[in-house]
């Protein structure tokens, strides 16, 4: 059964240029989805709409069959989805533990350890970690918030191949072992091929590959 549904959503930029037209999709828990497409095709826009960062001009996004506007986008972001960004978006004056604790609903230390951060690293200022480590902290924050959906926007975009591989595995594990619905927007073919289902966004429409 779909945990998240995208129903006929349309979106245009402020200048009137349409970017998404009548998008329909369903996402299930325990699966990893990849959304690929050319630059400017609207991947990040679609992810933002699913993540409740913006509102479509037409159509609706349903979480467990309820329109996310029903309880408000803030509620949706806090309880249904967790976002992971290419630029990690960590709070620079906090340690990994503190970053992960921001919206945590569970103990963050085991999660950080499972993601490969040492005892010393979890207490260091987050800006003093490598890019890969910072992305792991971002994933830890998403996992600690215990939301059913994880949305990742180019999560390996700034990482080298080896590190990216590690991050892809973590995301896959999150879907398959933790029963999360993981939706990844990516340019990376390697990452896309690891997904259970791949969507391609082209000319404002979404196609299953």
């Amino acid at each position: 059964m779909a945990i998240l549904e995208v129903n006929e959503i349309q979106y245009a930029y402020k200048n009137g240029q349409p970017v998404l037209s009548d998008i329909n999709a369903e996402f299930e828990a325990g699966k990893m989805y990849a959304i690929i497409g050319a630059s400017g095709s609207g991947k990040t826009t679609l992810l933002s709409l699913i993540g409740g960062l913006d509102i479509p001009q037409k159509g609706a996004i349903l979480f467990e069959r309820e329109n996310i506007l029903q309880r408000g986008l803030e509620y949706h972001r806090r309880n249904h989805v967790s976002l992971i960004f290419q630029s990690y978006n960590l709070i620079d004056y906090m340690t990994p533990i503190e970053n992960a604790e921001l919206t945590a609903k569970q103990n963050v230390l085991p999660i950080l350890e499972r993601l490969g951060l040492t005892d010393e690293e979890v207490k260091r200022n987050v800006m003093k970690l490598s890019g890969g480590q910072q992305q792991r902290v971002a994933i830890a924050r998403a996992l600690a918030s215990d939301t059913p959906v994880i949305l990742a926007d180019e999560p390996t975009g700034n990482l080298d191949e080896d590190t990216a591989g590690g991050i892809i595995n973590v995301l896959k594990e999150s879907a398959h072992e933790l029963n999360k619905c993981v939706i990844v927007v990516t340019h990376s073919n390697e990452l896309a091929t690891q997904a259970d289902i791949i969507f391609q966004l082209r000319y404002g429409n979404l196609y299953t590959i």
Partner: protein, 482 residues
């Protein structure tokens, strides 16, 4: 993670910004607290000054045509006598003093009397029949009488005449000496009737009549006799005895108009027969600089508060732009906007608690200097009396000539004499009016006021600085930061 913990982490980890904000708040708090303490001290100084100077109003018998009770008689020699059939009686005084705010009163009336005394003659020639006339001052009590209050006379023996005493008198030591009188002796006073009174007090004259000035016998200081009200009644016989004037002292001169208004509303007194003369000039003159300080300080506090709010808003807005990334992240995590603003507010408040507390020390240092500076600027300059040296160093005046001042006279020695033997004696230089002074100390009450004003300024500033960011959608913030 809660708001307070996030705020605490920001304040402790961003030390540079926290220290800078601490100093901005410290300066702001110092000025506000200084202003508040000066304002409070100024109010206190005004109250003290009012209490010290007091105020008074006089109720006097109106002998003009406006008074329907005023009478005029002319004797065979053309001497005119004015009097009233409705004088100020004890009953009237007792009614007036029921009004709140009246501290005490001094009633007097003077009348010409003959005595069995050998008096001091004046230097103005008069008809023989008037040569032995003197003034008898009928009072309720001598202690509050103007002659004694102004320290022209000073009681040196016996007691003052007090309320309800009968057939008693207070005379000058000169008159007592001339007539070989002492306390307990009796003297005879004559007007319409004759009365015998016992001397219960003897006064000395501290401010004698000016030399070489024309003065009639009955006005000479040595000849003044004070008697009680009952004796006056006895001297007048069947005529209604009363006082010509009563001076009422009030606690607070600022309330003088209000008190007089209450007095004039007393329906049991026929006010056509009396005039009321107010005197709050001394207070108004002394209080004027303090009132100016009060106005100046109130304006200063308002200006400081507004300027502080603007500066703080600008600084926080500037810093807010650098925190747009953080705000976007919080919003993307589903943290409510109110929660985010609360964090920013808590951060400033955490620093403010220390800055406001420390401003207690800095304000105490600044306040006294500023208060006296303001007072000097608002007090009109006074001319120093000629021949009076107000500042001396090591017994020498600044111009190198030693000064000996006695009774207001300055005597100069030569520099040589000065080296040999110089004793500088300075008599007390009396100021005729009280000096307005502000002694400023920052009180806990002022600190509480600071916290209230300071928190209001901070809430306004944080609110204003957060407006721009909070109007944006999370996606706009995230796209701005990327």
């Amino acid at each position: 993670m809660g708001t307070t913990k996030r705020a605490f982490l920001y304040v402790t980890r961003k030390k540079g910004k926290s220290i800078l904000l601490f100093f901005i708040l410290l300066v702001m708090a110092t000025f506000v607290l200084t202003g508040l303490s000066i304002a409070k001290s100024s109010q206190e100084a005004q109250r003290n000054l009012r209490e010290a100077l007091g105020g008074e109003f006089q109720m006097v018998v109106d002998l003009s045509d406006n008074n329907p009770y005023a009478k005029k008689t002319v004797d065979n020699e053309g001497n005119v006598e004015l009097y009233t059939e409705y004088p100020i009686t004890r009953e009237i005084i007792d009614t007036v003093i029921t009004i709140n705010g009246i501290k005490n009163y001094s009633a007097e009336t003077h009348t010409f009397v003959y005595t069995n005394l050998d008096i001091f003659p004046g230097n103005v020639p008069m008809k023989a029949e008037y040569n032995n006339l003197i003034y008898a001052w009928s009072v309720i009590d001598t202690q509050n009488n103007n002659f004694f209050q102004s320290e022209k006379f000073n009681l040196i023996e016996g007691n003052h005449i007090t309320e309800n005493e009968k057939n008693v008198a207070v005379i000058s030591n000169a008159l007592a000496e001339k007539n070989g009188l002492k306390l307990g002796d009796a003297i005879s006073i004559q007007s319409d009737n004759t009365a015998t009174v016992k001397i219960i007090g003897i006064y000395e004259i501290l401010k004698p009549d000016p030399m070489y000035e024309n003065i009639v016998t009955y006005e000479k200081a040595e000849n003044q006799i004070f008697i009680d009200f009952q004796t006056l009644q006895n001297l007048f016989g069947n005529m209604p005895a009363g006082f010509e004037s009563v001076t009422f002292d009030v606690f607070d001169p600022a309330q003088l108009d209000h008190i007089i208004s209450d007095v004039k509303n007393l329906s049991s007194i026929d006010w056509r027969a009396f005039e009321v003369i107010t005197n709050s000039e001394t207070y108004l003159e002394a209080a004027a600089p303090l009132q100016k300080v009060q106005t100046l300080v109130t304006t200063m506090i308002i200006v400081i508060a507004i300027v502080s709010a603007i500066i703080l808003s600008l600084v926080l807005t500037m810093w807010g732009r650098s925190r747009i990334h953080e705000t976007g992240v919080f919003l993307s995590l589903g943290i409510a906007k109110v929660n985010i603003i609360s964090q920013y507010l808590t951060e400033v408040l955490m620093i403010a608690v220390f800055a406001f507390g420390f401003s207690y020390v800095t304000s105490n240092t600044v306040a006294n200097q500023l208060a006296n500076g303001l007072l000097q600027q608002t007090t009109p300059a006074r001319e120093e009396p000629t021949g009076i040296v107000t500042q001396l160093k090591d017994g020498y005046s600044s111009d190198g000539i030693s000064i000996s001042i006695k009774d207001g006279l300055a005597l100069s020695d030569t520099p040589q004499q000065q080296k040999n033997n110089v004793d500088v004696e300075i008599s007390a230089v009396e100021t005729e009016t009280e000096e307005a002074q502000i002694h400023t100390t920052v009180s806990i009450y002022n600190v509480l006021q600071l916290y209230i004003i300071g928190i209001a300024i901070i809430i306004l500033s944080v609110g204003a600085s957060s407006l721009t960011i909070m109007r944006l959608k999370p996606r706009e913030i995230l796209s701005k930061m990327s």
